[in-house]
Symmetry: C2
Subunit: 349 residues, 2 copies
DNA sequence: CTGAAAGCGCTAACAC
DNA sequence: GTGTTAGCGCTTTCAG
C-alpha cells in the first residue's frame, strides 16, 4: 500500500531518519546523541550535530512521548494568573526543572473553571509525568490522579485531600509571627489583623494570634470568612479603625489587602506610618512601589518553587520514598509603611 | 519478538483498543465516536461512550498528534507574566479557542530568556498548529517559523518582522488621543507625557502629540528611550514637575508608570487631581484600587484576544486568505485621579 | 560501539 | 455503516 499523502497543510519537517542519512549513521545513533549518551565517538557525534543544525531538525515531542511513555513535562496548576506570586514560584520551579530536561505546562484554575473544564484532565491527557498544585482546587479534581503530585505554596491541601502528595509550602504561621513581632518591637500594642478565606490566610492569622498572645495582648481580627481582595482590605480596615481603643498598626493577609487598608486610612484622614503602621504579605511588586512602600513578609516563593521541583524530581526517581513536607522560612522586608516608631514622619529615606 | 515490558513506573492507562473491546466494536469506530462523526448508529455510540466512562479512558494527545499531524493546540507567547494585561488577552483567546477544540499553551518570554531557551523552538517541538505572539520578541526568534502566526496586542511587529502574520492590536494611538482629549476637556493646557521604549509606548505618545498639536499646544515628553517601570514613571514625573510652566496633568504610558508619578507628586507636596491630574494606560487592577483610583485607557485586551483567536481559526481554515490587520478601539475609564477640573478636591465620590 | 526491527496509541485511507 | 491495515517519528531491546 502506498504511503498516505501528507496533508496539504502539513509542514514536512525533517525526521530523525533524515538526520541519520545526512550524517551517514543509523537512526539509533542519532537518538543516542540526542539523549546525550556518552558512548558515542566524537567524530560521529559531531557529524550528527552538524546534520541537525543544517537540517534545522527539531525532535517531535509527540513521537518521543509515545515511544518512551513519558513526556518529561510537568503540569503546574496555578490559582489565578492575576495574583503574581506564581511568577516567582514558576521561576523557581523552572530553575530546577529546566536543567533536568523537564518542561512545565501552566494552567490557571480560574480560567479553566470559567471555560467549564477540568484542568487536571487536560494535564492528564497531555500525559504529564507529574503535577504541581499551587492552588486550593476542589478536592474532587485530584481524585484518581495517578502521577506524582507536589503541593507547592499551599500548606492545607496536603494530608487532607491528597494522602500521597509531597508538600512544599511557605511557613505562613511563622510569617504572621514575624510581622507581628516587628510591630511589637516598634512599640505598637494595638495591632489589628485583616484576614479572609483560605488556608494561607488562616495560618498567617494563627501566627499573628500566637505572637499577640505571647506578648500578653488581645488579638483583634477582622474579615474572617470574607474575601482577600483590595476591597475586602479596604472595608476591613475601616472596621478596624472604628475600634476602641484605636489600632496603631494593621497586618493584612496579603499586599493587596494592605493597599486597601491604606485607602481606608486616607479616608479617615490618617497616614502610614505616622498614625497607623501597615504590613502586607507576599512582598509582591506592589509592595515595592514608591507610592505604597509596604513592609511585607516575603514567603520566598522562588525558593518554594525550586524546592518543590527538587522534591518532584526525587519522587520521580523513587516513587516509594517517604512523603516530604517542607516548610520554607519567610523573611520580613521592611519599608516606610512601618518606618521608625509610631508618630514618626511619613517620608523616610 | 516479544512485546517490550512496560516500564515499572508507567501507569498503564486504557487505550482505544480496550474501549473497543469493552464496547464490542472496532478501534476505528471508537475513533469516529471520539471525533464526533455523525455516521455512527446511536446504539454503538452509546456503548462506546459507556465503555469510555467505565474505563476512565482519556485519549492520548501524543498518539493523536503523531497520527494526525496536528495537535489542535496553539502556542501563546507572552512578554512577562508580571504584567497582568495578558490575563484578559488569554481569557479572550480561550473564549474562542476552547469551543473550537483548541487548547492554548502559554510561555513567558522573560522566563524563557532567563533559562536561555528559545520559547518558539519549544512551541515548535510541541508541534503547535499556530502561534500567538503577544510580545515584541527578538526578530530572529520568529525566523523560519512555518505555522500561522497572529500578533496580538502589539502593533509594531507585524509587517516588519513577520511579513505573513495577521495582526490584531489595540489602537494605542487612539488611546493616547482619548487620554489627552479628556484632559484638555477638563481645561488642562500644560499636559506632560511619560513615555518609554517599545511599540505600544511609541503609539500612545503619537496619539498624545497629535491631540496636543490639534489643540495648538506644545507637547512635553519625558522618558523616551528609557524603561516603563514604576521607577521610570517616578523619575520621569519628577522631571516633568520641574518644568516651567509647571504641568497640571500627566499622561503615563501605562498604569505602573502612573503610580510612579503619584509618588513623585507626593514627594513634591502635590496631590492628584487637586494639583496635578494623572492618567494611566491599560486599566489594570491597579488602576481600580481605592488608594490609586487612576483614570486609565482600557485597551480592551479581552476583545483583542477573542478577535486574535477568530483570526487564527480563519487562517487555519484558509491559509491563503489575505492578511488581516485589525485595530481594536480603546475606551477611557475615568476615576478620581482626573476627577473634576483643576484645583478641585481629592476625595471625589 | 552500531544497525535492524518492533512497537507506543492513534488516525485515515480503503475494503468489507 | 463497520472492520482492516498501514504508518506518524521516535525509543529501545538485541544481535552484529
Amino acid at each position: 500500500m502506498p504511503a498516505r499523502p501528507t496533508p496539504a497543510s502539513a509542514i514536512t519537517r525533517p525526521t530523525i531518519y533524515d538526520v541519520a542519512r545526512r550524517a551517514g549513521v543509523s537512526k539509533s545513533l542519532v537518538s543516542l546523541v540526542l539523549r546525550g549518551e556518552p558512548h558515542v565517538s566524537d567524530a560521529r557525534r559531531q557529524a550528527v550535530l552538524e546534520a541537525i543544525e543544517e537540517l534545522g531538525y527539531r525532535p517531535s515531542r509527540a513521537a518521543s512521548a509515545l515511544a518512551s511513555q513519558q513526556t518529561r513535562s510537568v503540569g503546574v496548576l496555578i490559582d489565578d494568573f492575576h495574583n503574581p506570586w506564581f511568577v516567582e514560584l514558576l521561576a523557581g520551579l523552572r530553575s530546577v526543572l529546566d536543567p533536568a530536561g523537564y518542561s512545565a505546562s501552566v494552567a490557571d484554575l480560574q480560567l479553566e473553571a470559567a471555560s467549564g473544564r477540568n484542568p487536571v484532565d487536560g494535564f492528564l491527557a497531555q500525559h504529564v509525568d507529574a503535577l504541581v498544585i499551587a492552588a486550593e482546587p476542589d478536592p474532587g479534581l485530584l481524585q484518581g490522579v495517578r502521577v506524582p503530585v507536589v503541593v507547592a505554596g499551599v500548606r492545607e491541601l496536603g494530608p487532607a485531600v491528597l494522602p500521597g502528595a509531597d508538600v512544599v509550602a511557605g511557613d505562613d504561621e511563622r510569617g504572621g509571627e514575624l510581622a507581628t513581632a516587628h510591630l511589637l518591637d516598634l512599640g505598637h500594642r494595638n495591632v489589628g489583623h485583616l484576614t479572609g478565606r483560605g488556608g494561607p490566610a488562616a495560618h498567617r492569622r494563627r501566627g499573628y494570634e500566637k505572637a499577640m498572645a505571647a506578648a500578653g495582648l488581645e488579638p483583634l481580627v477582622v474579615g474572617a470568612g470574607g474575601g482577600t481582595s483590595e476591597q475586602d482590605g479596604y472595608s476591613g480596615a475601616l472596621e478596624l479603625l472604628d475600634c476602641r481603643p484605636p489600632v496603631t498598626a494593621i497586618i493584612a493577609a496579603n499586599d493587596v489587602m494592605a493597599v486597601g487598608a491604606l485607602a481606608a486610612l486616607r479616608e479617615r484622614g490618617l497616614r502610614a506610618p505616622a498614625d497607623v503602621a501597615v504590613v502586607g504579605y507576599d512582598n509582591s511588586p506592589l509592595a515595592a512601589y514608591h507610592y505604597l512602600a509596604l513592609t511585607s513578609v516575603d514567603p520566598r516563593s522562588r525558593e518554594i518553587g525550586a524546592e518543590a521541583a527538587r522534591t518532584l524530581l526525587a519522587r520521580l526517581q523513587n516513587p516509594d520514598a517517604p512523603r516530604r513536607h517542607a516548610l520554607i522560612e519567610p523573611t520580613l522586608v521592611t519599608r516606610p509603611s512601618t518606618a521608625g516608631t509610631r508618630r514618626r514622619q511619613l517620608h523616610e529615606p
